[in-house]
């Protein structure tokens, strides 16, 4: 019984141990997992294209999923790939919902207005670089974007990403290859 484990020393528990406690209803353990991984989950969500408020929402939703799914955790020491995987699934669902919304807006139909004019950017160099990178990332198709974000930006292994996304490792590498190619093209176009 977990409850009998009373005098835990303040030594850091593994994520797996924390998840076992979450499964038994220990909110403190959930809080600790949150402290360890929430910012990383939120960053992944943002890089998958969610706007800040939505990333906040889905971060919370992901950690609530943890409460429901803790019992099925596979016991790996670090839960980060698992959490990121749940966040990716949340992001996919969210995207579908936006797509439906957008499709509905369009289906109701009317003459499209021209897109808002690009604001003149006289911003700092760093900011421009960030924008350039963001635009290139935004232009990637969702599946390529997921792989690029998880492998390159988040440093997960190909195997972890494959498990997370439920695809063969070879697929991860293929998507990554095309993601890189598109990003490089987009960035070099942006330079000109």
């Amino acid at each position: 019984m977990m409850a009998a484990q009373r005098m835990n020393p303040p030594a850091p528990a593994t994520d797996a141990a924390l998840l076992a406690r979450v499964r038994d209803g220990d909110l403190g353990a959930l809080g600790e997992l949150y402290d360890r991984h929430a910012e990383s989950v939120r960053r992944v969500l943002a890089r998958l294209g969610l706007r800040p408020g939505d990333a906040d929402d889905l971060t919370q939703a992901t950690f609530l999923d943890v409460v429901r799914a803790a019992a099925s955790y596979d016991g790996r020491d670090s839960a980060r790939p698992w959490l990121v995987g749940m966040a990716v699934m949340r992001a996919r669902r969210h995207r579908r919902s936006i797509t439906r919304w957008a499709a509905h807006l369009v289906s109701v139909g009317r003459e499209p207005s021209p897109p808002a004019a690009a604001t003149p950017e006289a911003a700092l160099d760093r900011q421009q670089q960030a924008q350039r990178a963001q635009r290139a990332l935004d232009a990637l198709a969702p599946k390529k974007r997921e792989v690029f974000v998880l492998v390159v930006l988040e440093g997960l292994s190909g195997e972890e990403v494959a498990t997370t996304l439920g695809v063969p490792v070879a697929t991860v590498w293929t998507r990554l290859h095309y993601a890189r190619r598109e990003l490089r093209d987009a960035l070099s176009r942006g330079e000109r």
Binding site: Q5, R6, M7, N8, P10, G25, L27, G28, L30, G31, Y34, D35, A38, E39, R42, R43, R51, G53, D54, D56, D57, T59, Q60, L64, V67, R68, H94, S97, I98, W101, A102, H104, L105, V106, V108, G109, R110, P112, S113, P115, A116, Q129, A130, R132, A133, A136, L137, D138, F148, V151, V152, S157, G158, W173, L176, H177, R180, L183, R184, L187
Partner: protein
């Protein structure tokens, strides 16, 4: 392509991703420096990583993280306990003033077939209105309440989750919609609401002869005429077993007319969330948290203690008390930790940290 590139160039990427076997690695390491293609490919990959490294990490401040954490634990607590969740809490990201982002006009929606959107940011609600067809609307903000009046036409709405006491309403010529965070499309014509369609989240819709909730994928009027019109509010406070997302809870969350913002004497509803980030209490709590995060537990203990003394009714007093006990434990002061944990359990018998507190209290 004027010529073939080196057939080993693909290995640059494989090398970068750590998927070359030892022999291949060694061979590529010997080959690459003398091969212009492979050298260029390696440089290009490195440049790509550099370029993408410019993406902002977008981390929240410690205080924002903290508040979101508190909201999460409340929501999780409600779920674990299987009781009707206090649904006000989950969406209290409450970044207060810091959350006032200016949403880029037009950039918010990536439609293949763009419609004009207007993004509006106010202290209380962030939302977008997409003018789908001749929408005539106006906005009015009173305190934490944002009200959009849609007089005619069709508009799409995206409301981001709302902070604490914030409310977002759409006034219709013949009714009203209240939401907490959702996407939906409303058509008004000739002084009447013609349709409401929800693509994400839940809205509470009130029209003559209809009051009920619409959830993602639902629309009013229902396409099928024989609709089981949900009664406006029958939230019979179910002591249900932990159903995931019990409908009654959602009812309460959206449909309840969100009674006045919690009075300061009600610490069970996080007042932390509604306190402006720059308030004295916020600053003080932030200082204590910084000390705690920096593992300066002695100082953290003292600062949290002073915080609880000076702001006993603040929603963060609970956390502060618990963290004092935790700070003591981390310094090796088990007796002090136990004593403060007992204080915590007396003051917050249903507190979110009760499990940990019991452990620290040694019972």
């Amino acid at each position: 392509m004027s010529r073939d590139v080196c057939r080993n160039a693909w290995q640059a990427e494989a090398e970068r991703d750590g998927r070359l076997g030892p022999a291949e690695r060694a061979s590529f390491a010997r080959h690459a420096p003398s091969c212009a293609d492979c050298t260029a490919e390696l440089a290009s990959l490195a440049a790509l990583d550099d370029a993408m490294g410019a993406l902002p990490s977008g981390e929240r401040t410690a205080l924002e993280h903290r508040r979101a954490r508190q909201a999460l634990l409340r929501a999780a607590d409600a779920e674990i306990a299987g009781r009707a969740p206090v649904r006000r809490a989950p969406w209290l990201y409450a970044t207060a003033a810091a959350a006032v982002l200016v949403l880029a006009v037009g950039a918010a929606l990536r439609l293949s077939h763009p419609v004009h959107t207007e993004a509006v940011a106010v202290a209380t609600a962030q939302f977008e209105v997409a003018d789908v067809a001749a929408a005539q609307w106006s906005r009015e903000t009173t305190g934490a309440t944002t009200r959009l009046a849609l007089r005619a036409g069709t508009a799409g709405f995206h409301v981001e989750h709302l902070e604490g006491a914030a409310r977002f309403l759409v006034s219709l010529p013949d009714g009203e919609i209240e939401v907490r965070g959702t996407r939906f499309v409303v058509a008004v014509d000739g002084g009447h609401t013609r349709s409401v369609e929800v693509t994400e989240g839940t809205v509470a819709l009130t029209l003559p002869g209809y009051a009920g909730l619409l959830r993602a994928g639902e629309r009013w009027p229902a396409v099928a005429p024989a609709q089981a019109s949900p009664t406006p509010s029958a939230p019979s406070a179910p002591p249900s077993s932990a159903a995931i997302d019990p409908p009654a809870a959602t009812d309460r969350h959206v449909a309840s007319p969100a009674p006045a913002p919690s009075p300061p004497s009600a610490p069970s509803v996080s007042t932390a969330a509604t306190a402006p980030a720059t308030s004295a209490a916020g600053t003080r709590f932030g200082e204590a948290m910084s000390a705690y995060s920096a593992a300066d537990y002695g100082r953290a203990d003292a600062l949290f203690e002073a915080f609880v003394r000076d702001y006993p009714r603040d929603g963060r007093a609970e956390d502060a008390t618990f963290l004092r006990a935790d700070a003591r434990a981390r310094r090796g002061d088990a007796a002090g930790a136990a004593s403060i944990a007992k204080q915590y359990l007396r003051a917050f018998p249903h507190g979110l940290r009760r499990t940990e507190a019991r452990r620290l209290a040694g019972d």
